[in-house]
């Protein structure tokens, strides 16, 4: 099976629901009253703001991530390095509203670094998006340093390159291969960010397209308008992705060497330590604030509630099945992409990867509602709630799986394709002896990332309202809605701890030990 059936399924999963929504209320989109909406200054403002904030957030998150990842790569080993990298997988998992509370504990009026009213507006949005995306980008960019050939580091040393020159000749050329992919992923995350933008944005000036879609599906009940807005978001994001791939020259020569970790850079040790410390403090502060709040809350009461553990089990199952599906789909797409890469159709390969990722920007609410429209007349929706939640989570996780696995799979192909062909190594045997040992590390990261992500996602479960199926984030929102703010704080930290544990186990079990 190649990428194309997978992409066809994805297209069906996205376009099917959107078509379904178009038919619910007929063609109201082109009626005169709606037409004025499409021409309105409101929509224009929303569009401009969505892209502007996403662009700024991405630029800041990714450039800071490069600095931090570089410090990580050049500092060598230090205690807690792995723990910190695992912590860096967490911010993305935190439900938006909890993250907002965490950030407000740090930067709010009564916080450790009070920004006062300045927090609300673009500042707040950027602070939050850096908190979410910088750690993710660091984790996704870090492997690039490992793919720099050992000889190049030696040459750099011998030719007396300073830190800037090493960056220019060794690191940047390798890094920029991965940059468009990581950049587009972060861009998509910022573009579709919703509760954070609305709450920290300070008012309706900070309205993103996602808010408009939500609004038209709910209060206004114009599913067709929502579908068209989603299509607009999809096509605009695709354009951004295409441009970023076009602007970026793809690498001239494939990496086909063995590589060692970059040597410890003794000249800038102190500077790197400061950078690392700053990044860790920034990412950890909101989480520590959450921790403080949880410890003063009714810990025992929350933990002794069997509903919490039921929700945790449900969330974990959903997460792991979704992650498995996601990785399977990513694997098939990437296999075709690296085949294309191998025969030097690099742009086509990049588009294939992008096609798999881009569906992320169609809001789950749109897909969920559309699927609901498709399913409800024929089947019992309650039986379908969990499978649909799993499917949607698998789709949401796909760009992360593709990012985590892509570079490694491509490299494997370039290095070992000929060898495998000559040894007639194929199929399961090839997977067992070549792919699995070499790819288990990125596989572990992908599995952990997507599972944790699905576990922290409120998703569309609330759309179905299925009795007896409360996921952890839903439980958290129920507590918040019932004035139980301190219980919610405990649940939030439980969710985080649980995700960290799952991250640890999955990365450990699948990824194997270091240096394998």
């Amino acid at each position: 099976m190649s990428a194309y059936p997978v992409l066809a399924i994805l297209a069906f999963m996205v376009l099917g629901p959107m078509m379904a929504l178009l038919t619910v209320t007929g063609v109201s989109v082109i009626e005169s009253e709606s037409l004025s909406f499409w021409k309105s200054a409101y929509l224009r403002r929303v569009l401009i703001f969505s892209f502007w904030q996403a662009f700024l957030s991405t630029a800041l998150s990714v450039s800071l991530a490069i600095i931090v990842a570089r410090a990580f790569a050049r500092y060598g080993c230090f205690p807690f390095r792995n723990l910190i990298l695992k912590l860096f997988g967490l911010p993305l998992v935190i439900p938006a509203v909890v993250a907002v509370f965490g950030l407000v504990s740090v930067f709010g009026t009564g916080g450790w670094i009070p920004l006062g009213r300045d927090l609300y507006g673009l500042n707040g949005i950027l602070l939050a998006h850096i908190f979410f995306n910088l750690p993710l980008a660091v984790r996704l960019l870090l492997p690039a340093w490992k793919s720099i050939p050992e000889q190049h580091w030696k040459l750099g040393q011998q030719l007396g390159m300073n830190s800037w020159q090493q960056w220019k000749y060794l690191e940047w050329p390798t890094l920029r291969e991965n940059l468009p992919g990581v950049g587009v992923l972060v861009f998509m995350l910022c573009l579709t960010s919703f509760a954070v933008v609305l709450t920290l944005g300070g008012g309706p000036k900070s309205t993103t397209l996602e808010v408009a879609i939500y609004q038209s599906l709910r209060f206004d009940f114009e599913p067709a308008q929502a579908a068209v807005l989603a299509a607009l978001q999809l096509s605009l994001c695709a354009t951004v992705a295409l441009i970023s791939f076009r602007l970026q020259k793809l690498p001239e020569v494939e990496i086909t060497s063995t590589a060692l970790q970059c040597p410890v850079d003794t000249n800038t040790l102190k500077l790197n330590a400061v950078i690392l410390l700053a990044a860790v403090v920034y990412v950890a502060m909101p989480m520590i604030a959450m921790l403080f709040e949880a410890f003063t809350g009714p810990v025992r009461q929350v933990l002794s509630n069997p509903a919490l553990w039921r929700s945790a089990a449900l969330s974990l199952s959903i997460g792991m099945i979704a992650a498995t599906l996601s990785i399977l789909a990513a694997w098939l797409i990437l296999r075709s992409a690296s085949d294309l890469y191998y025969i030097k159709r690099k742009h086509k390969a990049a588009y294939l990867e992008m096609a798999g990722s881009i569906v992320y920007v169609v809001p789950p609410l749109v897909i969920g509602t559309g699927l609901f429209v498709l399913i409800a007349p024929r089947f019992n929706v309650f039986d379908w709630a969990i499978p649909i939640v799993i499917l949607i989570n698998a789709m949401t996780g796909l760009p992360f799986a593709i990012r985590a696995l892509g570079p490694a799979m491509r490299q494997n192909k370039m290095r070992y394709q000929r060898l495998c062909e000559s040894l007639n190594l194929d199929g399961w045997n090839r997977f067992k002896t070549v792919d699995w040992p070499l790819l288990r590390k990125p596989l572990g990261l992908a599995m952990a990332l997507v599972t944790a992500l699905a576990m922290g996602d409120l998703g569309v479960i609330a759309l179905f309202g299925t009795p007896e199926t409360t996921t952890l984030p839903l439980l958290l929102y129920q507590q918040l809605g019932a004035y139980l703010m301190s219980e919610a704080a405990v649940t939030a930290v439980f969710l985080l701890g649980f995700c960290l544990l799952v991250f640890w186990l999955l990365e450990g079990i699948i990824g194997g030990r270091e240096n394998v």
Binding site: Y42, T199, G203, V373, P467
Partner: protein, 334 residues
């Protein structure tokens, strides 16, 4: 991996259990999520009603009243719901217009609402008033009128919700419209300088308020009752405004296509009974719609009582909502 399989099997078994115990009639009620949560009225209501009806009561907890109405529109006559419970008077006109709701035919005699209930399609089960909640220690002299909040130069900063995404947010929009009428736009422009932020939903704004991000938050007159009863914390109060407070009435209605209308009406009658009504105050933190004042918990008696009740006709809201929201957007973006 075997442990994971075990967990999965357990989860799916749990799911299957819910389909068991057939034989009895099942009454399906679509409501909002916080009604059915462990802390909401749902579990107690289910227990009490099942004791008297020899049936199974199944709540489907959707995100909120708006999601509930959307769901109804999407499913139309195919809906599995026999009843809907949890939309408010801002949405009743739209809900009625779907033609999916049947007149309730139940006496509204027991209702204790401040005004007589005349809707023949929907029955009220609880109500409340929007209000700004504050911490008495931080804000000893809160504004005493909406005008003061909007116009006074030293009025406190506030946290509100977005009318495009939240019910209280829409409630406040209507409140402003009721008080200011055609001047609402100007009033919003003035007020906007004092708005710290406009959150997606009630939880975000209330959470930020408890964290001290602003001295006042848009919530309900009944919110302090939660802190008094559940936390024994008497610092919080709702500011009483001279112009009166905008009212929110939550209602239930019978689905026209339901095959269990008799059972449905039995539930609606139960809903107006003391048993159901006395569950409401300390689980939904609202005033019950059919319970005498003296049966309310003590903390409720000390709450702010609005001098005037403000409420738009539901058909007016349905007609003007979009336009009022764009007016609000313009004012706030200035």
């Amino acid at each position: 991996m075997s442990r994971i399989t075990q967990v999965l099997i357990t989860v799916f078994c749990l799911l299957q259990l819910t389909n068991a115990s057939a034989g009895k009639q099942t009454l399906t009620i679509y409501t909002y999520d916080s009604f059915t949560s462990d802390w909401g009225p749902g579990p107690q209501v289910k227990k009490a009603f099942e004791e008297q009806c020899d049936c199974i009561l199944e709540f489907v907890g959707l995100e909120d009243g708006v999601a509930l109405l959307s769901r109804l529109k999407l499913e139309a006559t195919n809906t599995k719901a026999d009843l809907i419970l949890g939309i408010d008077t801002n949405l009743t006109a739209e809900a009625r217009a779907t033609g999916l709701i049947e007149p309730h035919q139940i006496s509204t005699g027991p209702t204790t609402l401040p005004t007589d209930w005349k809707d023949t399609y929907f029955l009220p089960y609880d109500y409340g008033y929007f209000a700004f909640v504050y911490n008495k220690e931080i804000l000893p002299n809160p504004p005493t009128s909406l005008k003061e909040l909007v116009e006074s130069t030293d009025a406190p900063e506030i946290l509100i919700q977005d009318p495009r995404t939240s019910t209280p947010g829409l409630g406040f929009l209507l409140w402003m419209k009721k008080v200011y009428g055609d001047e609402a736009h100007k009033a919003w422009v003035k007020l906007s300088k004092r708005v710290v932020t406009v959150s997606k939903g009630w939880s975000e704004a209330y959470g930020l308020f408890l964290k001290g991000e602003a001295p006042m938050v848009l919530s309900y007159t009944t919110s302090p009752a939660y802190h008094i009863i559940a936390e024994e914390d008497k610092r919080f109060a709702a500011a009483s405004f001279e112009e009166g407070h905008y009212q929110q009435i939550e209602v239930a209605g019978l689905i026209a296509s339901s095959k269990k209308k008799a059972l449905g009406r039995e539930f609606l009658t139960f809903m107006m009974s003391e048993k159901f009504q006395s569950i409401i105050p300390t689980t939904n933190w609202m005033y019950p719609a059919a319970l005498e004042q003296d049966q309310l918990p003590a903390a409720f008696k000390d709450l702010v009582k609005p001098g005037h009740t403000l409420l738009f006709k539901d058909t007016d809201i349905a007609k003007n909502r979009k336009q009022w929201i764009s007016e609000w957007l313009e004012a706030m973006a200035e």
